[in-house]
């Protein structure tokens, strides 16, 4: 391996491709380089999250198929014929199926949030990015906050608790996953909104909006997949 003698002294490099230079841990890189790095990293992160999601679905379908002791939704357990634990003690009565309205509303709100961020990214290329991105991010943030409230409300409205068998456990696990994604979205969309208002994306430097749009879309996919599972395969 050989080296050339291109001097480098740790200073701002000239704009190689017209995209400007940004900080990166004390080093400098073009926005295009930063964008590429962040895009690949996000793909990998989403890949890991997708595996997490797949294993959650595996858990759902595995426990549903086993229906150990009739504890999937407690369908076989009634007050007259209660399921028993290994010692013969009654451990549950009939567990009603969870209502799907809230689940659907949360999925729909997340999709709306993803569409708002997508709209902001596309429109900002034609109009004032500060106004458009802050509006898109602001409304998306509001939408996600509403989804968080609905999710918390659903916890209080469930016709079962964590101790009511495999269906109840899996359903609540799904809700937890949804809430975790919504929490991340709140953090990210708040940042997007604040930064857009401060003019951080003026001048065409909105690659970060594209990254956030991708992650928001992924969160929408997660909530839709989880909603579809609990609705279609209860």
């Amino acid at each position: 391996m050989t080296t050339t003698t291109i001097e480098h002294g740790g200073t701002l490099e000239p704009e190689g491709d017209g995209h400007g230079v940004v900080e990166g841990g004390g080093h400098h890189e073009t926005r295009a380089q930063r964008h590429l790095k962040e895009r690949i990293a996000l793909w990998l992160l989403v890949g890991g999250d997708a595996l997490f999601l797949l294993l959650e679905l595996f858990t759902w379908f595995y426990l549903r198929a086993l229906n150990t002791n009739g504890m999937w939704r407690g369908a076989a357990c009634t007050k007259a014929n209660a399921c028993t634990d290994g010692l013969g003690n009654p451990i549950t009565s009939e567990i009603p199926k969870a209502g799907i309205t809230y689940t659907l509303v949360i999925a729909a709100l997340t999709v709306v949030a993803a569409l708002l961020v997508w709209w902001a990214e596309v429109s900002a290329q034609r109009q004032s990015p500060r106004r458009i991105i802050s509006a898109g991010a602001g409304f998306a943030l509001l939408t996600v906050l509403v989804a968080v409230v609905v999710q918390c409300y659903q916890f209080g409205q469930l016709p079962f608790t964590t101790i009511d068998g495999a269906y109840a456990s899996s359903f609540i696990f799904f809700m937890g996953t949804t809430l975790a994604h919504l929490g991340l979205l709140v953090f990210i969309l708040t940042g997007l909104w604040v930064r857009a208002r401060r003019g951080k994306y003026d001048g065409g430097h909105w690659f970060q909006v594209g990254i956030i749009r991708f992650f928001t879309a992924w969160c929408a996919i997660v909530t839709c997949v989880l909603a579809a599972t609990v609705i279609l395969f209860a």
Binding site: M1, T2, T3, T4, T5, I6, E7, H8, G9, G10, T11, L12, E23, G24, G25, G26, H27, Q33, K37, I40, A41, L44, L45, G48, D49, L51, F52, L55, E56, F58, T59, Y62, L63, L66, T68, N69, G70, M71, W72, D85, G86, I91, T92, T162, I163, G165, A166, Y167, A168, S169, S170, I172, F173, G176, T190, G191, V194, R195, R198, K200
Partner: protein
């Protein structure tokens, strides 16, 4: 900032007194204060408000440990930049330089530092520490087993020690190469100034740091008596220590995931000009492939641990059959993680050892592309073999045949890699320095570990051996005798670059022979126990197994003494060793083209790669241009030992 005012070296930049902002006041002390403080607050609040429920104690332990992790990260400064980002602020260039350690001297090793070399050394010390803990526990296990009915530990303490020994060693071996060398060496190897995401890099390390105390806390929380595999329902019924154990795993899994993403993105996007994929050093391939497999394995670990925590803390029933769960669900999820994880451990050190073999045989890596293909084949197959750990459980007997087949298939790419190592050595001008000793030991051990693994992949043979000490001997030959010894070879190889000193080879060779002989005595003893049918994880045993156990214990003491001697050699050399030249081994890859110690952004000139890194026999590469006068920076071949082959 203008180019005219540029200093010769970035680390010589004079920063203003405001550079770094809040980071200036944050270090390991504030981290510990934050961790202990938030942990205490979590304990007080959960003790006050949650203790009354059925799972009160588990909730208290979980909240306390989670508080410790979050508080430590807050205290060390891990969340400063994300919060600033959310508030619409960006760090200045000076802040970034401060974060990279400029002007801080050795204090930067105790801070949230973004310089990949600092993070690499931090990882190295963490790995040594965890190995020290795991090794000490191993000696306690072997001491207990020196007689059939020893009262040294007692059954409960023995179980707890076996569990933490297993998990500590798994944690340490997963990061033993990708942590220190994936951080220190890989960016330089590919011609980058740093990792792709320096702050994420520092976060990965401090997550690891945060994960260790909860693991040690298990001893005062009743002990984890479910083994490192923490099979349900044992794990669901275990003392509160299990909650701390689960927090350790969750934190560690996040750390490995972030670290893996960073390594992959660094190699994919930050390679120097001319560094095509065909010219990537083989260790870089190993780090990327191991990291990619980690991205597959760690989410499974996280899913399993989240469900275990909720089973214990909120009464869900994922793994409790009485209320609709299934112990098989845990076993599936655990081994979906667990078997790929073996290759997360194995591939990076083997790839690193291939660098050693190529350098000291003065030959290109034999069948380079085939080796890379074999690594990829291993990860593809490794995700299809998990159920061979469940042959005897009764889960899906119809799948035993297919899983036996995939498991035996994986021996083919593994064998190919072995042949590539042999092919690289074949007719080479072998220069037998200390790293090569360890490489030879790897070859010996790994063939024993590999061949005995084939027996265990066979369903009828596994029905006999499963759960006995034969299995223990097999995976110790593979993971300690194979992966860890390859990692030691890599460590000895890169020690001059990392420390700036030459490792004392005389003491190192004494350590080598003690370790080499100790391994054979210890694990042949365990094979003997296994053939006689002694089960694993028992504190007391029938006297017919006595001699085999005594043999294993004597070997283990020799093995541990060997590692202690090696540690002495490392510390002594790091402090008093001969200053290392930039390229003591006359190697060809980029990390040897930079000065020692390595400057902040690695390269004083941006490298352009014009050949593969294994062109031995070709003329020496030019020394880096514009070399500054720094102590100790003897660059080039002027200070190398006379008579060394080139």
């Amino acid at each position: 900032m203008t180019t005219a005012a540029a200093p010769a070296l970035l680390e010589d930049t004079q920063l203003s007194s405001r550079a770094g902002g809040l980071y200036r006041h944050q270090n390991i002390v504030t981290g510990l204060i934050g961790g202990i403080g938030l942990g205490a607050i979590g304990w007080a609040l959960s003790h006050q408000f949650l203790q009354g429920s059925n799972w009160g104690t588990d909730m208290v332990v979980t909240v306390t440990m989670a508080g410790w992790v979050i508080g430590l990260l807050l205290g060390i400064g891990a969340f400063n930049a994300p919060v600033l980002w959310m508030l619409g602020h960006d760090q200045t260039h000076e802040d970034e330089l401060y974060l990279a350690g400029v002007g801080q001297g050795p204090r930067r090793y105790w801070k949230f530092c973004t310089d990949h070399k600092v993070v690499g050394v931090q990882y190295l010390i963490a790995v040594f520490t965890i190995f020290g803990v795991g090794g000490t526990l191993a000696m306690m296990i072997r001491t207990q087993l020196v007689s059939a009915h020893s009262s040294f530990l007692g059954a409960n303490a023995y179980n707890a020690i076996v569990s933490v020994h297993g998990m500590a060693m798994i944690v340490a071996t997963i990061i033993m190469v990708t942590g220190p060398f994936g951080n220190f060496i890989v960016p330089i190897m590919v011609g980058a100034k740093d990792m792709a995401f320096p702050r994420l890099n520092a976060l990965s390390f401090w997550l690891l740091f945060a994960a260790v105390p909860p693991l040690l806390a298990t001893f005062v929380l009743g002990g984890v008596d479910a083994g490192w595999t923490t099979y349900a329902p044992l794990s669901v019924q275990a003392p509160p220590a299990m909650d701390a154990f689960a927090i350790t795993i969750l934190t560690f899994a996040v750390s490995v995931t972030l670290s893996g993403i960073n390594i992959i993105v660094t190699v994919l996007t930050m390679r120097a000009e001319g560094m095509t994929l065909n010219r990537l050093p083989i260790f870089t391939w190993g780090a990327v492939i191991g990291s990619a497999l980690g991205l597959y394995a760690m989410p499974a670990f996280m899913v399993g641990m989240v469900m275990m925590i909720t089973d214990r803390v909120t009464g869900t029933s994922f793994f409790v059959a009485a209320v609709g769960g299934s112990g098989w669900l845990w076993e599936n999820i655990f081994w979906i993680m667990g078997h790929p994880e073996v290759y997360v451990i194995l591939i990076p050190p083997v790839a690193a050892m291939l660098e050693v073999v190529s350098t000291f045989a003065r030959k290109p890596i034999f069948a380079y592309k085939v080796t890379v293909g074999a690594f990829i084949a291993i990860i593809a197959l490794s995700i299809m073999v998990w159920a061979h750990h469940m042959f005897t459980t009764g889960w899906a007997p119809d799948l035993n045949g297919p899983f036996m087949l995939t498991t035996e298939l994986i021996s083919i790419p593994t064998g190919i890699i072995f042949l590539c190592v042999i092919g690289t050595l074949w007719r080479g001008s072998i220069w037998t320095r200390l790293p090569m000793y360890w490489a030879y030991l790897f070859l010996w051990n790994f063939i024993i570990g590999g061949v005995t693994g084939i027996y265990l992949s066979d369903v009828p043979a596994d029905n006999y051996f499963h759960g006995d000490m034969f299995v223990t001997a097999h995976f110790h030959y593979t993971l300690l005798g194979g992966a860890m010894i390859a990692a030691v070879a890599a460590f000895c190889y890169w020690f001059p670059k990392v420390s700036g000193r030459m490792l004392n080879e005389r003491i190192g060779k004494v350590a080598f022979w003690m370790v080499a002989i100790g391994i054979q005595i210890t694990y042949f003893g365990m094979f003997w126990e296994g053939f006689e049918g002694m089960p694993r994880r028992v504190a007391y045993y029938d006297p017919i197994f006595l001699h085999a156990n005594q043999m294993a214990t004597v070997g283990a003491y020799l093995l541990m003494a060997g590692f202690v001697v090696l540690l002495y050699a490392i510390i002594h050399s790091w402090v008093h060793g001969r200053p290392a030249p930039a390229n003591p081994w006359h190697a060809k890859s980029l990390e040897w083209m930079v000065p020692t110690p390595v400057p902040l952004e690695n390269f004083l000139v941006e490298p352009v790669v014009t050949a593969d890194p294994y062109g031995y026999g070709e003329p020496e590469p030019a020394a880096p241009a514009a070399e500054p006068e720094r102590e100790p920076v003897p660059v080039g071949s002027a200070e190398t030992t006379a008579g060394e082959p080139v």
